[in-house]
Amino acid sequence: MNETAEQCYHCGQPVPQGFQYRVCIDDAEREMCCRGCQAVAQAIADNGLVEYYRSRTAMPASGQEVLPDELKKLALYDHPDIQRSFVIDAGEHSKEAVLILEGITCAACVWLNERHIKQLAGVISIEVNYASHRARVAWDEREIGLSRILQEIQLLGYNAHPYNARQADQLRKTQRKKDLQRIAIAGIASAQVMMLAVGLYAGAWYGIDPNTVHLLRWFSLLLTIPVATFAALPFYRAAWSGIKSGHLNMDVPVALAIITAFGGSLWVTVMGGEHVYYDTIGMFTLFLLATRLLETGAREKSVEAAENLLKLQPAMALRIRDGQQEYVPVMDLLVGELILAKPGETIAADAVIVDGVSSVDESLLTGESRAVAKQVGDSVIAGSTNLEGPLTLQVSGVGENTVLAGIVRLVDKAQAEKPEIALLADRVAGWFTMGLLAFTLIVGLTWLWVDSSRVFEIVLAVLVVTCPCALSLAVPAALAASGSHLIKRGILVMRGHALETLAQVNHVVFDKTGTLTIGKPEIVSMVNSGVLDDARCNTIAASLEQASEHPLAHAFIRRVEGAILPAVTAARNSPGQGVSGEIDGVAYTLGNREFAQASRGDQSETRIQADFPGATLVWLCDTQRVLAIFVLADPLRADAQAAVAALQARGVSVSILSGDGDAAVAHVAAQLGVKNSHSRQKPQDKLAVLQALQAEGKIVAMVGDGVNDAPVLAGAQVSFAMGTGTDVASQSSDIVLLSSKLQDVAVALDSGKGTLRVMRQNLWWAAIYNLTALPFAALGYVSPWVAALGMSISSLIVVMNALRLR
């Protein structure tokens, strides 16, 4: 066994000791880190897609285990009511849909998905766009269902969600096509005009037949008309809307320069004169369009990635009407109607329990997977998951009237109150443009008095040379470059200003549950009373928990992965307390202390509690004795320690805010070496702590994941959300850590510093260039084509400098 055997062959994570997950690939046994990766690698090998491993250039995410429950949920996508929102009828029986693929890391992933899906019977075509991570798939509904396609993608270790191609997306696509057309026109025309211009300049030097000059000018005019009208249209529009709304933007001088140059050249062409400036128009327009396309391209990449986060969930509910059960879309539900929530299902609306006892997982709101016991009369919240028993619910709020929707509105409000840095930049640009135009006017009037024949040429040179392109590109080019660089590392910048602010951050606040910790309980220790051996206790506990949907149950089942579990008879699930059942004729109970009837004389609880603050204890007993006590706790993320250390090494102070109890928070803080921690914080308390920090003059970055963090995320100067967190948290944050690596926070901070540095350099360069070139142009030493060249080169330098950020 060589050294690389320590790493999972599929995902590159270290292989834990003592596990044997192997798959035969390329005639060699490969080590895998978990059952998920093993399953994915096996599926890849079985389908003859091993080429993937040879061609890939980046490691995929660890394979997740496909639970039967999730497969059941996928079946909902076959429902015609659900399909209506994202499936297009491409013909009789053939359907088409756009899917978002999660987990694409390199081109080999694209190949793998295309290859595998294409060979399924009934799939007509599949095309994966590597840039946007979206797949367009067409299938024959008689032969295959959409859920089967989604399931096959999941077996390869990717996640697919139907994507509702909304109007905004369509609009962006046509816009991009239009932009490309404009560039094509400007490029083709200006290349030809440039050639003709060489003829004209050479002719002016060596002598040329006036008829030829005339001909070349007319031909140049013909070529320039589409450039000045069609290609330059966006500048006119932006300038006009700027003037109409009363503040001058950077497009005004651009539009003015193009119109002046074109009008002047037209006059000279028809009436005769010294110079035409068609080449200047072409170069100027082409270059401006190209830089803008580069900038929007990089920005759109972030927008698309952000949209990919908004998954289209099947919003179905099982309605009970006149004793009949029927699946209906959630929007058709009315207040007062009865719905049935089966164990494992997401509750579709805010409701009150009218029948049944169960516990629900409200991690959507709290970010913490913990079962909350519910009985008749209690209310449940839309988006929480029913864990144990079936619940009959009476709907009390749907859609906009749910608690969740209310929180989203709160977040929107908090966001609107954020300082608008962009607004400031706009205002500065307005003043700058005004000064520029005034200066041009003065220069023009002065030359009119000195030498009226040169006025036109000089005004044009001044307008072109001072074109604030470099200045206006200085900031967006840097933001776009570092944004697209970060996205490759799995850091999605949702709001541009975040990078500027990141550079100044000197305090980072972490949420505990789900952010510093994984958010799912794991068995961290087990105390055996000595009656049975450890393995036997584990299997008994896992067998008993098989029937339970409780989040703690998964921890037990994960612990004995792959083992054959003995059959349980007379299994009973007591929501909120535990489970009981008989194995081989012996009755066992597993649950909290009272439920498991642990003997009161046993003092071990206090001892264990001291060792594991904040842990949950689960007792396994038979009818007489305590067999074992399992200690369940929410473990820290593997990179939490390194991430906190990295931040502290950069001189950034760190604190923890959590809704959890004192002991648990203090324990985590001690482990990470964080001195400043606050426990038992409600969302409004968190916001108060944050504001106190801000009042001290700290620039605070908040890292969180739950809906309860959303208002705090929106209130911090910069906020990070974990990619595995809730949608609301992602939407209220500035930056999303798609791969949920905490160390990315430090990476983002560094990148923010780099971006700010480049932005400063760019602004300085642009200012110096403009200020130096201006007097020369005003004094008449710069001809318009030299001005256009200078403008282009200065913008190019700005863009190149920004590209260094990669």
Partner: protein
Amino acid sequence: MTTSTLVFLLAMTAIFIVFMALGVFWAIKSGQFEDMEGPAQRILMDEDDPMLPVNQLDENGVANKSKLQ
């Protein structure tokens, strides 16, 4: 070079430019610029690997294109 030769050459150039523009417009319209990274990478992936089950010959010597299910 007489002016009439020049007119002829420029007319030819004009036709050439129109065709070029039409060609580029068609390419944009058909979506060739939508994914700027994928195709460059895709060419490196082998589709004709004899190890792929799809490419293996069955007993009749016919390429096994039957779809998996």
